[in-house]
Symmetry: C2
Subunit: 319 residues, 2 copies
């Protein structure tokens, strides 16, 4: 029987006997160490050309993505990026490809004030990138909300699902190449969030004092909600975080926008819990013209969407 992602993680957890002195080991967005009076956070992210990077990404956008996906876990701890190292496995590449990849990395590093400080280059059968980012904070924010806290997300959710749906329609031959490009033109923000996502670093830093828990949305809101704990979500409230273009797109292609919102991965939005909703909204607005939406709350028991039980299930990676 093929191993599932969960089998693999369980095998790792069950067989690592040496734990050392660490504040937080495997199991959150970042591992956390105490260094002097500060907390150091570290996270790693590996991606392969064929499985993690949509074919429409330019080399520049691939560079942006590897930094963004890695740094997003630093943002999820509400920590400040310190630096990143990137190991690269390169197949036969042209100088132009490499140059654009590096420029994309540099662009994102500047955006997040997170310098590239090292790496490793190797020959490989396909483009392979592994980023490891460090962050620093005096107050690391973990996953897992407390009963009674409100659950909120930054900005919006659902666009990446729609963008991938456009790619799926192309790949299944349901739309012509021409329609594909015209959809791309018609929904620039939907495609934009897939092509050039943003890690919510500024937002995480602004939120640090006002939140009880935080994670980033990389595997889809539904899966991440289970990390928060027990919850009650309202689809009406969730819809306030679903932007108009997603509503319109879903209407046009007969997709349930709540399904899109719950199953949209690599959004890199922050999902957090707080007792200070109003303050959070104000701080984000004033600090970076940011937004956050209350979508539900942490409850004693169960996982509910509009009073009905939500099951985790969904896609499980199999080997």
């Amino acid at each position: 029987m093929p191993l599932t992602e969960l089998d693999i993680i369980k095998t790792i957890l069950d067989n690592i006997t040496y734990k050392g002195e660490v504040i937080k080991g495997i199991g959150d967005d970042c591992a956390v160490f105490k260094v002097g009076d500060s907390y150091l956070t570290v996270t790693t992210d590996m991606m392969f050309r064929s499985t993690h990077l949509p074919d429409i990404l330019t080399p520049f956008q691939i560079g942006i993505r590897v930094v963004t996906a890695t740094v997003s876990d630093i943002a999820a701890m509400c920590a400040k990026p310190l630096g990143i190292v990137i190991s690269m496995g390169l197949p036969k590449v042209e100088r132009g490809f490499l140059l654009d990849l590096i420029k994309g990395i540099d662009c994102a590093c500047r955006r997040y004030s997170c310098p590239l400080v090292g790496g490793d280059t190797n020959k490989a059968k396909e483009l392979t990138l592994c980023g490891t980012a460090l962050g620093i904070t005096d107050n690391p924010v973990y996953r897992g909300g407390k009963v009674g806290e409100d659950i909120m997300i930054t900005y919006n959710v659902g666009r990446v699902y729609c963008a991938l749906e456009i790619l799926r329609m192309r790949d299944r031959g349901e739309i012509s190449r021409k329609t594909f490009y015209s959809l791309w033109e018609e929904y620039p923000d939907i495609m934009g969030k897939l092509l050039e996502p943003t890690a919510r670093v500024k937002e995480g830093l602004l939120l640090n004092r006002y939140v009880g828990s935080c994670c980033d949305i990389s595997d889809g809101l539904k899966k991440e909600l289970f990390y928060v704990g027990n919850f009650e979500i309202s689809s009406k409230k969730l819809l306030s975080a679903v932007p108009k273009d997603v509503i319109e797109f879903c209407d046009r292609f007969q997709i349930d926008p709540i399904h899109a919102a719950l199953n949209s991965g690599e959004e890199f939005e922050l999902l957090f819990t707080t007792r200070r909703c109003d303050k959070v909204v104000q701080v984000l607005k004033e600090g970076c013209n940011g937004e956050a939406w209350r979508i539900g709350k942490v409850v004693e028991e169960g996982h509910y969407l509009d009073g009905e039980e939500l099951k985790l299930g969904g896609y499980i990676h199999r080997w």
Copy 2:
């Protein structure tokens, strides 16, 4: 024209414009940050099954190797390991393989007091491992010796070259399968250094106060010597660091032992410079029953072996 490793590194260095606040960026064994009163060192190492891992390695030994190769760069800064994250790209693997891989990782983590604190697992076409290790020190030791300092190496050098030569003879069909296994039995320490190398963590910590520069031997002594600076090496002295089994093996297969010593990669010995040879020898002996050998000194100009110029050249990775 295919890109060389140097082209790629140059492209990276020339196009990274955002430098941030970092004590040491790209270009040493580790990057270095200041955190409070401490210096944090970070290094990353990527390896692919087909290009970096000899086929005779067991899954357990692969686990040992990924930790050792990464932590060796922490040792090269004479820093103390803090923790490691390992991203894994896994092809269809059996549970037994995965279990042994994890046990090897755990075993090496314990040996170096360097806990595994995180990672990422992905499907991949071939086994791909990327380790990133953190270290901490109040005195990071960099590459690059000062004129007049003695050049020393820990323990011994040359065995990995011989072990790979045994593999090469097998692959070229120059020896039978039976001879291959009997050579393996005849030269246990030669094969052992390839199969289960050791990062010189304890030695690096003991040396911290007494050395002017340090790096580890991963690409072969010859290449690493050029990082030290200008040098004058004596083959007679170097031979004191070449163990008897290497001398015997080289004699038997008509290999120049100095060539083997200079071109033996992934030795993970420390190559360092010091003005206190005797103290270093004493400290290593008392601290961990360790050894180090003086092989030459840092000079004003040039790169000399027995008075003749040594050229870098050698193998360059091409893409």
